[in-house]
Amino acid sequence: MAPINPVNIDFSSLNLVTLAPMLVTLIGALVILIIDLIKKDLDKSLYVTLTILTLFIAVGAVLSLNLNERGLFDTILIDGVAILGQLIILIGSMLFIPLALTKKRFHEFSYPEFFALFLFMIFGFQFMVSSDNLILIFIGLETASLALYPLIAMHNTRASIEAAIKYFTMGAMAAGFFAMGAAVIYGVTGSVELAVVADVLKSRMSEAGILIPVVGGALLLLVAIGFKVSLIPFHMWTPDVYEGSPAPLAGYMSIIPKIAMMVVAVRFFNIYLDLDIVSVKNLIIILAIVTATLANMMALVQGDVKRMLAYSSISHAGFIMVALALDSLKGYSSIFLYYGLFLFTNLGAFAMLWVSRRKAKLFHDRFHHPYEKFAGMIHKAPIAAVIMAIFMLSLAGVPPFSLFWGKLYVLSAIVDKGYYLVALIMALNSAIAVYYYLKLIVYMFLKPADKDKEEVTIYANRALSLEVVIGFAAFVTITSIFYIEPLMKFITDLVKSSGLV
């Protein structure tokens, strides 16, 4: 197919149904903007509920999509991976948005634009995961990113503005790499559509010297993906941005943008893995190992729980990245399983930090959530301490909590493919990681609170909606053993139907 051929447009290939979930979020965002235009002094609770309802309808629209249909002039591909990606994004967003209803007032949530931007961002991510056209992926990525930067900055502290600018600069650079990578791929294959790229590459693989541009393009895209998924050495922005953002947004950023980019990575690198280009495969594995290991080391020495969670989420990203390189059904499925479970646990953990947020930094000059803040929490707030401990144990991979199953499937997929050493390294990484998760548990359960701060309540920002979200996340984390089977089956069926393996 020729890349630019405006004459042959057939409007039946618009197939608007495939766009339905995205249109829902788009319309929702516009409705919020219009309401704001008409009436000014509305409370944030209205916008929160409107956003949730929009997302709810979008989930419904996703579930009613037909598998393996194309739309928007063949640029949208609704396959199993796209559906899974959209579901995780929408469910994660639904969990996130009630966290805006806090007891304390925060600057950003008083603006209706926050919610409109939030929905625009989701729109971008949805686009990203449901397209197999590099240009459209790029547009989705930029829409989402440009909406995300102001969301961070709207927190309106020095740190958050710094974080937004840092993220923006880094994000712009990543976008540049993405564009260059896409250009190289286009140069080699004459197409930006991944299906066509795969066919052309397959036919040209025997040509001499073809590997240099092919692998070069992959490298450029890997840099862009590495930025978004926060692989070492492209991770520098992550801890600072998480530290500057409000806790729930940091938790959100540790999952949703990453799963969106992960879907793109799955689509793109699957071409290379199918062609058996070993250098790319090895590169992914090496990056994954380096990411998981180094991020763990850095998490060990953090003094702030939020920064620790930032590094831990980098490490988890590295852990999952290995599954990408396996090119097996179990590997791809376990990516989605892992992110699906990680979503609840990690967002729950960040939400726990959010509950404990107050305006003044009582415990540390720089950090909002130093470890010392949680000392003696078992006596101040026993249930909260137990829930936080469960989240930490789950992140550490202690059975029977949810992430243990994610770990089990990923490790099993690695072992199935014969990478025993990689599996061993990843397993030992979990043993390193358990130290910093335990550190928080030790502070909460085993250390007495500071004498002069004994009276300070830890959860100053508590509100019903936060409790509901955290309670739900904890419930999902604890009861995982009962739903892993149907969940994994659902994921495997969808992944299988998208024909990656």
């Binding site: 130290y435 359960f445 250390k447």
Partner: protein, 507 residues
């Protein structure tokens, strides 16, 4: 009641959750009542157990993740039966002897959760289920050491957790590889241990897997050179923590050897006899010497506990019925005796807040009952005939004698060295003149402590004189185990080493 194992696992869990409703004042009685009920349930299991049957009994199997072959699969045989009974018994004794005042409610609930994990480990026949209980047992123990321990409790608790966690993650990779192997030979996923028993593997594969599992188990036992966490854990843990740790948690490692390493990898096990025996003998002699050098009574017992675990490992790797059955019996007797000794140290620690031998002397005059019980337990620990300690130790060593007489003689020094350091404790603490004025007014055992200790003394004497009711079912199941290993063994060397002596005579 065919689902008694499920009841045994989940009764303490439910009781622990309900424990949150009981008030701080009455929680002690609640804990004792629950632990006693659990113990009675395990006795019921014992009495309804068919002694003649060598295979798994009370089997329950519910698929949890059929696609991936994970199931809720329980069963008990002669090997695990008494470990379950000992677990519930020692938990009961531990709760009765509890002398902690601070946060006693949390302590009792934690102990009940720990009991869930411990019973689960011994009755799980699905390897993932086993792994879940195995890992989960770390969490309550971390809390017990960390919240009620001594000065360096945080260091000890974290060291304990990370050491064992790291070892078991290596084991997890081994488990997953074995599952993959099973899947590629049979085409189906299964984590059921009884399925895995049927798997034939090449010697090379066996060796890798054997050492992966070994690491997980050896850290738990703890075998030299992975033993360094244990003295810290014992030194810092509260009395009840040490009792449970020594009596039950360490047995998980040796139980793992018997249940997993030997029958799954018979050839690799035989090829590993020499290195493991050397490690075990170093463990026996070295830690016995370290024990002799300690000034703190609790540390002496901690190191003696490691030393005796060496004998258990040696007996296990004798690969014959005597050795394995003996080591299982020794697991039980070591549980009872070391648990009792830690309780006894707890008694004087409660009175004087020190565990140093120099602070005592001539206690036999002030606390005669205490001295008597301590003496009996010392004798049992040393392995005096007609006490529980003798039978297991004798059988283990006799079993290993068939493998290597020289190494057995070396290991036999454990009995002599044990006598040296334990009698030294006895002499310094209980005999001679009363050197410290304040020791003259120490009170003898009170009713609570007697209730906890007298049953232990009774068991030590009863099973020392008449071990048959316990030894017979162990023997039956061990024979079946050894036969399975003999059948599975591929190398000539393994066939020759794994002796099914009694069945051969019958033929």
């Amino acid at each position: 009641m065919s689902n008694i194992l499920t009841v045994l696992i989940f009764f303490p869990l439910v009781a622990g959750l309900f424990g949150f409703l009981v008030s701080q004042k009455s929680i002690r009685v609640y804990g004792i009542a629950v632990a006693a009920a659990e113990f009675l349930l395990s006795l019921w299991l014992w009495f309804s157990f068919d002694m003649k049957n060598a295979g798994m009994q009370f089997v329950e199997k519910i698929n949890i993740i059929p696609e991936f072959g994970i199931s809720y699969y329980l069963g008990v045989d002669g090997i695990s039966l008494f470990l379950v009974v000992m677990t519930t018994f020692m938990t009961l004794i531990g709760i009765i002897g509890l002398s902690i005042k601070k946060d006693i409610k949390n302590m009792i609930i934690t102990l009940l959760f720990l009991e869930v994990a411990m019973v689960g480990v011994f009755v799980a026949l699905d390897v993932i289920l086993f792994y879940i209980f195995w890992e989960f047992s770390l969490v309550p123990m971390l809390y017990i050491i960390g919240a009620w321990g001594g000065e360096k409790r945080l260091y000890a608790a974290i060291k304990f957790f990370i050491y064992t966690f790291a070892g078991s993650l290596v084991m997890l990779v081994g488990i997953l590889y074995l599952a993959h192997l099973y899947q590629s030979t049979t085409g189906e996923w299964s984590f059921a241990l009884t399925d895995w028993y049927k798997l034939q593997m090449d010697l090379d594969v066996q060796k890798w897997l054997f050492w992966a599992f070994f690491l997980g188990f050896a850290i738990k036992v703890p075998m030299f050179p992975f033993h360094t966490w244990l003295p810290y854990a014992h030194g810092q843990a509260p009395t009840v923590g040490s009792v449970i740790l020594a009596a039950v948690l360490l047995k998980m490692g040796t139980y793992g050897f018997v249940r997993f390493s030997l029958p799954l990898f018979p050839d690799a096990s035989v090829s590993a006899i020499l290195p493991i025996a050397i490690l075990a003998i170093i463990m026996i002699i070295y830690t016995a010497m370290v024990a002799f050098a300690q000034k703190d009574i609790k540390q002496v017992i901690a190191y003696s506990s490691i030393s005796h675990m060496g004998v258990i490992v040696l007996g296990t790797f004798a690969m014959n019925v005597e050795g394995i059955a003996g080591s299982i019996f020794l697991m039980l007797s070591h549980g009872i005796v070391s648990g009792a000794l830690f309780l006894l140290v707890g008694v004087i620690y409660d009175r004087k807040h020190t565990k140093l031998m120099d602070e005592f002397g001539g206690l036999a005059k002030v606390m005669p009952t205490y001295a008597t019980i301590f003496g009996i337990m010392t004798m049992a620990s040393v392995g005096l005939p007609l006490t529980i300690g003798f039978i297991g130790e004798y059988l283990s060593l006799a079993g290993f004698y068939k493998v290597s007489p020289i190494m057995t003689i070396l290991a036999g020094t454990s009995i002599i060295l044990g006598a040296v350091y334990m009698l030294a404790v006895l002499k310094k603490t209980f005999f001679g003149p009363i050197t410290k004025e304040e020791n003259k007014s120490l009170k003898d055992l009170n009713a609570k402590e007697l209730t906890a200790l007298v049953p232990l003394v009774a068991i030590v004497v009863w099973l020392g004189v008449y071990p048959k009711p316990v030894l017979a079912p162990i023997d039956t199941s061990t024979k079946a185990l050894v036969e399975l290993m003999h059948q599975k063994a591929q190398t000539k060397e393994a066939k020759a080493t794994i002796l099914v002596s009694k069945t051969k005579e019958a033929k």
